[in-house]
Structures are given as structure tokens and as C-alpha cells.
């Protein structure tokens, strides 16, 4: 009898786990499916060749947002990549100690800071002294989110580089900096770049840090010291607006952003997995 009870509860538990796993995975299809369906419907060539049309007019595009996002991301990469790479190199290279522990802790805390708080910091740090919202402020804010991600991924990849390679370089009398840059970093370069791309895909969709820094703009601009449009900001503003034409633009912009981010993710994850497979 007891055996029976166990078997019954096993059946029930199995069924419950199957159903709950299905319910958990379902939203991915719902979210991606919904955005792809409505985004695709409103997709047009104008989307990437024109700036937003005034309210009430059909058509228009998000060219200024794409260019603006590109500019902001360039600025954030220019700050985040060098510091992040060096930080990752330091963590992978140096022996355990107090300073290393402090850095690890700082990186972990930085990763956990809510993005809206980063937005406030960008505002205080750049917008207040400049008396103006600007592309630079947006880039600086995003770089603060990018930095800890690059440090962590760089360290993880460089740790997988066999220690024999490092030792061989030193045994040959290479200076330490050459070993680090031309042996260790060179070997792990694919993984390091994948990590950078993943961090890029993460910040490309960030909206909250741009609200009080880049601000957004209806116009096309290359000026670094002026407010600038960004794709995620446009999605936000269009979707909370009351105009159906803007909703359509928002869906189309979401589609572009979603496809871009998912593509980067899928490609880089596949590359990283291949590398892990080769090494392990």
C-alpha cells in the first residue's frame, strides 16, 4: 500500500513539474512572438532610413535612434573596454590577496547596482557640471554598467588559458607584460571578445540610465555634447504615448532591438560553448 502511495505521488509530482516548466517557458514565446509579430507588421524600409515623423503623420523611422544608440555605445565602449580588460587581466594574473579581494567585491557590488541609480550618477557626474543633457553623459552611464561585466567575463576566459603557456613564456625570458598581452590575452582573445559583445548586447537595451543623461531627441544629431536619441528611449516614449502611429513605430523599433540583441547572444554563446568544448 505504501509503495502505491509513493508511486502515485511520484506520478503527480512528475506531471506538476512538466506543467510548471512549460508554464515557465511559455512567456518567452509570448513576449518574443508578440514583439516579432507586431514589429514585423510595421517593418518598412523607411524605418532605418528616416527620422520620426511629426505626430499624426504616417510613416517615419528611427534612424536618429539607431545612430544615437551607436554613438552612445561607442562612447561607453571607449571607456568600459580598456578599464575592464585591464581589470580582468589583473584578476587573472595576480596572486590572491587583500587588494584582489576588494576588487572582486567592488565588481560584484557594481554589477548589482540598479540601473536607475546609475542614471542618477550619470546625471550628477556629467549633466550637472555641463548644465546640459548629452550623448557623453549617456555613454558614461552605460560604461558603468558595462565595466563590471567585462571584468568578470575577461577574468573567466583568461583563467581557462593553460598555466603552462604563461610559464613557458616566462621561462623563455619574456617580460611579464608581453606574456600577458601576447600569450595569455592572445590565446583567450575569442572568448574575451565574446564577453565584450555580450556586455554590449546587455547595455544596448538599457533605458533607465539614459533617461536623465542622453534624454532622447526627435532630431538627427552627431553632437556629443547635446541630447541625443537612442533606440530604447524611443521604444519607451512611443509605447507610453497615446498615438497609434507611434505605437507602430515602437513595435518596429522593439523588433529591431530584440533581433539585434538575440542575434548577438546566440552567436557569442555558441562561440563560447565551442571554446569550452575544445578546452575541456
Amino acid at each position: 500500500m505504501k509503495m502505491n502511495l509513493q508511486k502515485i505521488s511520484d506520478r503527480i509530482a512528475t506531471a506538476a513539474i512538466y506543467i510548471m516548466a512549460l508554464v515557465t517557458v511559455l512567456p518567452l514565446f509570448l513576449v518574443v512572438g508578440y514583439i516579432v509579430f507586431y514589429g514585423f507588421k510595421h517593418l518598412s524600409f523607411e524605418l532605418i532610413t528616416r527620422n520620426p515623423a511629426p505626430v499624426g503623420e504616417e510613416g517615419g523611422g528611427v534612424l536618429n535612434g539607431i545612430v544615437g544608440s551607436g554613438i552612445i555605445l561607442m562612447i561607453s565602449m571607449a571607456i568600459g573596454i580598456p578599464i575592464g580588460l585591464l581589470g580582468g587581466l589583473y584578476l587573472a594574473d595576480s596572486p590572491d590577496g587583500k587588494w584582489k579581494h576588494i576588487i572582486r567585491l567592488s565588481v560584484e557590488i557594481l554589477q548589482g547596482i540598479p540601473s536607475i541609480v546609475i542614471g542618477i550618477i550619470g546625471y550628477i557626474l556629467i549633466v550637472l557640471p555641463m548644465h546640459r543633457f548629452s550623448a557623453v553623459a549617456g555613454g558614461v552611464a552605460l560604461s558603468m554598467i558595462m565595466l563590471p561585466i567585462i571584468v568578470v567575463s575577461t577574468e573567466e576566459v583568461l583563467r581557462m588559458v593553460p598555466v603552462e603557456l604563461r610559464e613557458a613564456g616566462i621561462a623563455l625570458g619574456m617580460p611579464r607584460w608581453r606574456v600577458n598581452l601576447f600569450v595569455v590575452l592572445r590565446t583567450g582573445l575569442g572568448g574575451v571578445i565574446s564577453g565584450i559583445l555580450l556586455s554590449l548586447s546587455r547595455v544596448a537595451g538599457e533605458t533607465a540610465p539614459l533617461l536623465f543623461t542622453a534624454l532622447g531627441s526627435q532630431f538627427f544629431s552627431f553632437k556629443l555634447d547635446r541630447p541625443i536619441a537612442a533606440l530604447p528611449l524611443q521604444i519607451f516614449n512611443y509605447s507610453i504615448s497615446p498615438y497609434p502611429e507611434w505605437h507602430s513605430l515602437g513595435f518596429a523599433a522593439s523588433f529591431l532591438l530584440l533581433i539585434g540583441i538575440l542575434a548577438i547572444n546566440i552567436i557569442t554563446r555558441t562561440v563560447i560553448e565551442r571554446m569550452n568544448y575544445k578546452n575541456g
Partner: protein, 301 residues
């Protein structure tokens, strides 16, 4: 040969040190800037800022209680529902599904985590909120007034925010839980089967106890995410500065009130109150994340 001061190695070491200094310095800078700029508000309201329920920019009266309440209700609401689903999905990936299918689901969950908050928000506005509104209407029309689940069916409000936070944070929790479950030694599991236990008994007696810390830690880290989540919540929570009384009420979280009002805020005290809210959010999520990390690290050793 004398060692040169400006040798490649020294320059390299200096560059590494400066970069780490930047990282640590940035963290200090963030904390000090938040503290400095929220000082007018801290001096004016003191600790009572935390339990004052009034948010009245016109008369320069600011209290954080409605937003602390909104943050805690939405985050904890989402996390409580999250626990069984995250557990079930992790079990499915590790124990119940064929390896190939488990891998696919694992990847899908990772992708779910990569979707930007603002896209979840857009989906929330156009897909989720209308459904929640209908659901609220059905509940209000057909059931007697139960406290907490009653009120005008706006659609936007705490309930929608809980659902969207649930969908957004579950990938983090699953990715940690499934990694911890991978570490359960195979001989323990096989031992349980050899003793004639069913899979469910094995899960209950071996996997769950073995992974207890990892599950709690992963859930805590997901909670940290939920607390600071901004855009999606801002778009579906309805933006009210009153203390919410039922789950149907529009409200605001700390993050969403900042997102909504920071650019329009005029006057030192107003801006500084919003920055103090940011400081508060920073400290709350720092605390929760630290607890979560300590628990997770404990399991890994």
C-alpha cells in the same frame, strides 16, 4: 644591468593597478555622490523620510513609504510565486527531460534574461495589462469583495507589476538553481534509486536538501534584481504616489518614481529627495545581494 624604472613591466603593472583603482574608486564615488546630493533631504527629514506616507512636491513634503511599500510588495510578490516555478523548471532541465531538450530550455531561459526591460514593458502595456484588466473585472464582478483583491479594475497596478517582475526575474533564479543542481553527486542519486526510491522521493530526499543553500541564494539574488527593476515596472504600475491598499491599485516603486519624476523635479529638496530614494534603493539591493552571494558562495565551497 640596472632595472629601469620605466620598463615595460612597470608600466604594465601601473596600468593594471590604475584600472583596478578606477573600479574601486567608481564604487566609492557612486556612494559618496549619492550621499552628498541627498544631504539636503536627509538633513530636512531625517529618518522619518522612511516612514512618512506623504509625497507632496507642491508643499515640499516628501516621504518614501508609498514607494518602499510598492517596491517590497511587487518584489516579494513576484519572488514568492517564482520559487516553485524556478524549482520545477530547474528540476525539469536537470532530472526529468532528455539532455538535449534540457539544454534547449536552458538556452531559452538564458535568452529570456537577455531581453531588455523596455521590451518587456512594451509587451506589458499592450498584452499583459489588458488581460490583467479583464481578470480584475471578472474578479470584481463575480466574487464578493475580498480584501486585497478588489477595487477599480485599472489593469495597470501592483498585480501587473508582480506578473512582469515574475517573468523577468525567473531566468536568474533558474540559471543559479540549475547550476547548483548539476553539482549533486551522481552516486548519491544512484544510491537513492538503488534503495528503491521513486524519482520524486530522490528529489525530495537528495536533491532538495543538497541544493537548499543554492536555491535560497539564487532566489535572494533574483529578489535583488526585482527590487531594482525599473523600465518594465514603470510602464505597467500606473504611477500613483498614494500608499496602495489592494493589489489592483496603481502604485510606484522606488525605481519607478525616480524614472517618472526626476526630469521634471524642480527645487533642491525635491531633487534631493529623489536622489535619497536612489540611495535607499542602492543600500537595499546591496544588502539583499550581499546576503544572496554569501549563501550561494557557501554552497560552492
Amino acid at each position: 644591468m640596472k632595472p629601469r624604472l620605466l620598463s615595460g613591466d612597470n608600466i604594465f603593472r601601473l596600468a593594471l593597478f590604475l584600472s583596478t583603482l578606477c573600479i574601486v574608486g567608481l564604487l566609492f564615488l557612486i556612494f559618496i555622490l549619492l550621499l552628498f546630493h541627498s544631504w539636503p533631504s536627509i538633513r530636512n527629514f531625517g529618518l522619518s523620510f522612511i516612514w512618512t506616507g506623504e509625497w507632496d512636491p507642491v508643499n515640499d513634503k516628501f516621504g518614501a513609504l508609498p514607494f518602499i511599500a510598492g517596491t517590497l510588495i511587487t518584489s516579494f510578490g513576484a519572488i514568492i510565486i517564482l520559487i516553485p516555478f524556478s524549482l520545477a523548471t530547474s528540476l525539469f532541465i536537470r532530472e526529468y527531460s532528455p539532455t538535449a531538450l534540457g539544454k534547449i530550455i536552458s538556452h531559452m531561459v538564458d535568452l529570456l534574461a537577455a531581453i531588455p526591460s523596455v521590451i518587456y514593458g512594451m509587451w506589458g502595456i499592450f498584452f499583459l495589462v489588458p488581460i490583467v484588466r479583464k481578470l480584475e473585472l471578472v474578479i470584481v464582478m463575480n466574487l464578493p469583495a475580498i480584501p486585497l483583491v478588489t477595487g477599480p479594475p485599472y489593469g495597470v497596478g501592483l498585480l501587473s507589476s508582480i506578473v512582469i517582475l515574475l517573468i523577468m526575474t525567473i531566468p536568474y533564479s533558474i540559471s543559479i538553481t540549475r547550476d547548483v543542481m548539476e553539482q549533486v553527486p551522481t552516486d548519491l542519486k544512484e544510491g537513492a534509486f538503488a534503495l528503491g526510491s521513486t524519482k520524486w522521493t530522490m528529489v525530495r530526499k537528495i536533491i532538495i536538501p543538497y541544493c537548499k543553500n543554492g536555491i535560497i541564494g539564487g532566489t535572494t539574488l533574483a529578489l535583488g534584481r526585482a527590487l531594482g527593476e525599473t523600465m518594465a515596472v514603470t510602464m505597467v504600475i500606473g504611477n500613483s504616489t498614494n500608499i496602495p491598499k489592494t493589489l489592483f491599485d496603481p502604485a510606484n516603486t522606488i525605481a519607478s518614481i525616480i524614472a517618472n519624476e526626476f526630469n521634471e523635479a524642480g527645487g533642491t529638496l525635491y531633487v534631493s529627495s529623489l536622489i535619497q530614494l536612489g540611495l535607499l534603493l542602492f543600500l537595499i539591493s546591496l544588502g539583499i545581494n550581499t546576503i544572496g552571494r554569501i549563501i550561494v558562495h557557501k554552497t560552492r565551497i
